[in-house]
């Protein structure tokens, strides 16, 4: 028995060591995403966009030579302590450039590993300013939290005409807390009244919090939390018969939130990176890809609704290809040098890098979940 066990372990080791064996005509792009853990669903959708893009354009031409592009995915398990080894794995497998991660804290946790190895990273949807701050090798193609928090406050005040907003975020989650913080800053300027509360991880009963919101007289609930909590908040607000508007962050742009909205008829808005119908060609292709691949469809949550993070993942892949072309080589150092000047017109709009390596973006979208049609309706908002 013991010998058998040892044998199995030994075989596993050999297999693991035999794994990285790529030919010379391949350029590796690392995908640093959570496939399991709290952020697993979002990470998967983001990865899908990249995989679709890779299927669409599996080669890149550098200096007249055509290389195959290989995506290598490392699961960071949404966990900071696993981020280091996941990042190292990508470096070890020879990634020329890395895309990711969904979730800012793992991005920050992995940043130093990439930095030490000199591998450039393009953050796809990690919105925390700290991701790129002080990390010269970290770029990003999405807007950042200060902007997003401000949009939400302005939206609540100007568009929804609210005077009291109840804010609810997860305790110990820096994404939630950061957004709440920026929201509060803008809300104070605008003269919005804000009540902010935190719920501990693993909470499923939000009725007490919603009662607090009701007692506060909130007209809008801003809940920058992850999808499962978002679903619960929407459903419980509905079952309590609350007459409020619920607004969520970019993470909420997902069919899973839409399902809850359709089931309850609540009035829900969220920010997003991508307006529906912005790139019809992409949408058509991506839907066909999803419906043609059972695993991909399952990873997307079982239907072919397009999540903004997938579009962002798709664009990130092409930005990476542009960078490789501009660098004229697969060498990470050369790509890092070329990256700041890369521009790309993607499905989510024009992408260019400005200060700190953050994308220069002038617009963000706010989407409304239409409970009757089950579709998102986008509104354009000025980031000014």
């Amino acid at each position: 028995m013991k010998k058998l066990f040892a044998l199995v372990l030994a075989v596993a080791m050999v297999l693991a060591l035999a794994a990285p064996a790529f030919a010379d005509d391949t350029i590796t792009i690392g995908v640093f995403e959570p496939l399991t853990g709290d952020n697993g669903p979002g990470g998967k959708q983001e990865t899908l966009g990249m995989q679709y893009a890779n299927q669409e354009t599996p080669t890149v031409e550098v200096n007249g030579v055509t290389y195959n592009v290989e995506l290598v995915v490392a699961d960071n398990e949404s966990s900071n302590d696993k981020a280091v080894s996941a990042a190292t794995e990508l470096v070890a497998k020879g990634a020329s450039i890395v895309l990711g991660s969904y979730g800012s804290s793992v991005s920050i946790a992995g940043a130093d590993t990439f930095g030490e190895a000199g591998v450039p990273v393009i953050g796809v949807t990690c919105t925390n300013p700290q991701v790129t701050e002080g990390n010269d090798h970290y770029f990003r193609i999405c807007f950042t939290d200060p902007g997003q928090g401000a949009i939400h406050a302005q939206f609540a005040k100007n568009t929804l005409g609210a005077s009291k907003v109840y804010c609810l975020g997860q305790l110990g989650n820096d994404y939630d807390q950061g957004l709440l913080n920026y929201f509060q800053a803008t809300a104070d300027e605008l003269g919005l009244k804000v009540l902010k509360e935190d719920f501990p991880e693993g909470t499923s009963d939000f009725t007490a919090y919603l009662t607090n919101a009701k007692n506060f007289g909130a007209e809008v609930i801003f809940a920058p939390c992850s999808i499962p909590y978002g679903q619960l908040i929407i459903q419980q607000a509905a079952s309590q018969g609350m007459d409020v508007v619920i607004t969520g962050p970019d993470t909420w742009d997902s069919n899973m939130i839409m399902d809850s909205v359709v089931a309850t008829g609540m009035d829900v808005y969220c920010t997003t990176f991508y307006g529906e119908g912005g790139a019809p060609e992409f949408e058509e292709g991506f839907k066909a890809y999803l419906n043609g691949d059972e695993t991909a469809l399952a990873n997307n949550g079982g239907n072919d609704m397009i999540a903004a993070v997938s579009v962002m993942g798709y664009d990130a892949y092409y930005v990476a290809l542009e960078a490789i072309k501009a660098a004229g080589s697969a060498d990470p150092a050369a790509i890092l040098k070329a990256l700041p000047d890369v521009t790309y017109e993607g499905a989510t709009g024009g992408i260019a890098f400005g200060e700190n390596g953050d994308a220069v973006r002038s617009t963000a979208f706010i989407k409304h979940a239409n409970a009757e049609t089950g579709a998102w309706e986008a509104e354009l908002t000025d980031l000014g």
Binding site: P200, D205, P228, L232, Q240
Partner: protein
């Protein structure tokens, strides 16, 4: 007064409802502990699996079939866990069995992760239970009102079962003295299996109520309710069924009152549960209804 009532009734209601759900899980913990002296860490995950089975079952069959199916599958799962993971360790030190329980919990969570891909699964709406209802100033789902009633009914039935039936008597004997009961010809294994079957049946019922209220199932859905229910069981005096139920209601209500206290306190709603537990343990080391354990010298 009426304003106070109006403002606070929802907290109380949700406290009672949450307490009822904890109670159904806590009974499973307390019964297993009473007989095996084992903290069955996997119990919360069995509860989560029951939720997932319902999600998958209801997708392909009508409600009147899927509900019994969920209960049967959960009971079989509990039975299987006991046979595979705990029975072989019957004579092993207590810590080994507990670690086996942690291992099972880990396995169930990871399997759920593998099959669902970590995506939250929408729990189906069970007709009638999911409807909203008005009680004075508060609006809530019918399930909130059904839960405490159902819990009390189940506890009464369970107590009758334990007090009056032969197998109930055997359970009491085993929990009092494991070795002697074995010598007296009680079939220990069937008594233990029975305990797991009852515990898992209640967990399945609990999952129906719980997920109707909070209709999103993720692989870690069972962890927090499981932990809270366990705390409730310890609080009430582990091994005592009424103790577990009362402990669960106290914890459910306190937790919701804390959440209503103001924004600086919501942070500690979970921590408070543990503070309460530690205080109780210090004042009465075996919980409210626990029997004092004497170490024979």
């Amino acid at each position: 007064m009426s304003a106070f009532f109006q403002a606070n009734l929802p907290y109380l209601l949700s406290g009672i409802s949450v307490g009822g759900q904890y109670a159904l899980i806590a009974i499973g913990y307390t019964m297993v502990y009473g007989i095996l002296r084992l903290i069955n860490f996997a119990h919360g995950d069995v509860f989560m699996v029951a939720g997932l089975v319902m999600v998958y079952a209801s997708a392909s069959m009508p409600m009147y079939l899927s509900i019994p199916l969920v209960i049967v599958v959960t009971v079989v799962l509990g039975f299987a866990i006991e046979r595979v993971a705990y029975k072989p360790l019957r004579s092993a030190p207590r810590m080994s069995v507990m670690i086996s329980a942690i291992g099972v919990s880990y396995l169930l969570q990871n399997c759920a992760l593998y099959f669902t891909g970590g995506l939250p699964q929408m729990y189906p709406a069970i007709p009638w239970l999911s409807n909203s209802v008005n009680i004075g100033p508060a609006t809530t789902k019918i399930v909130t009102l059904v839960t405490p009633v159902l819990v009390l009914a189940l506890v009464v039935i369970l107590e009758l079962f334990i007090q009056k039936t032969k197998i109930g008597m055997a359970m009491r004997a085993v929990s009092r003295d494991f070795e002697t009961s074995q010598l007296m010809g009680i079939k220990i294994n069937s008594v233990i299996s029975m305990t797991f079957v009852i515990g898992c049946f209640l967990a399945a019922v609990g999952s129906l109520l719980y997920f109707t209220n909070y209709p999103s199932v993720i692989p870690t859905s069972g962890a927090m309710p499981g932990l809270k229910a366990f705390v409730a069981a310890v609080f009430g005096g582990i091994g005592s069924i009424p103790g577990a139920v009362i402990g669960a209601f106290i914890i459910g209500i306190c937790e919701n009152i804390i959440k209503g206290l103001g924004s600086n306190w919501t942070v500690f709603s979970d921590a408070f549960t543990f503070v309460l537990l530690i205080i109780i343990l210090l004042v009465k080391p075996t919980g409210i209804f626990g029997e004092k354990a004497t170490d024979k010298v």
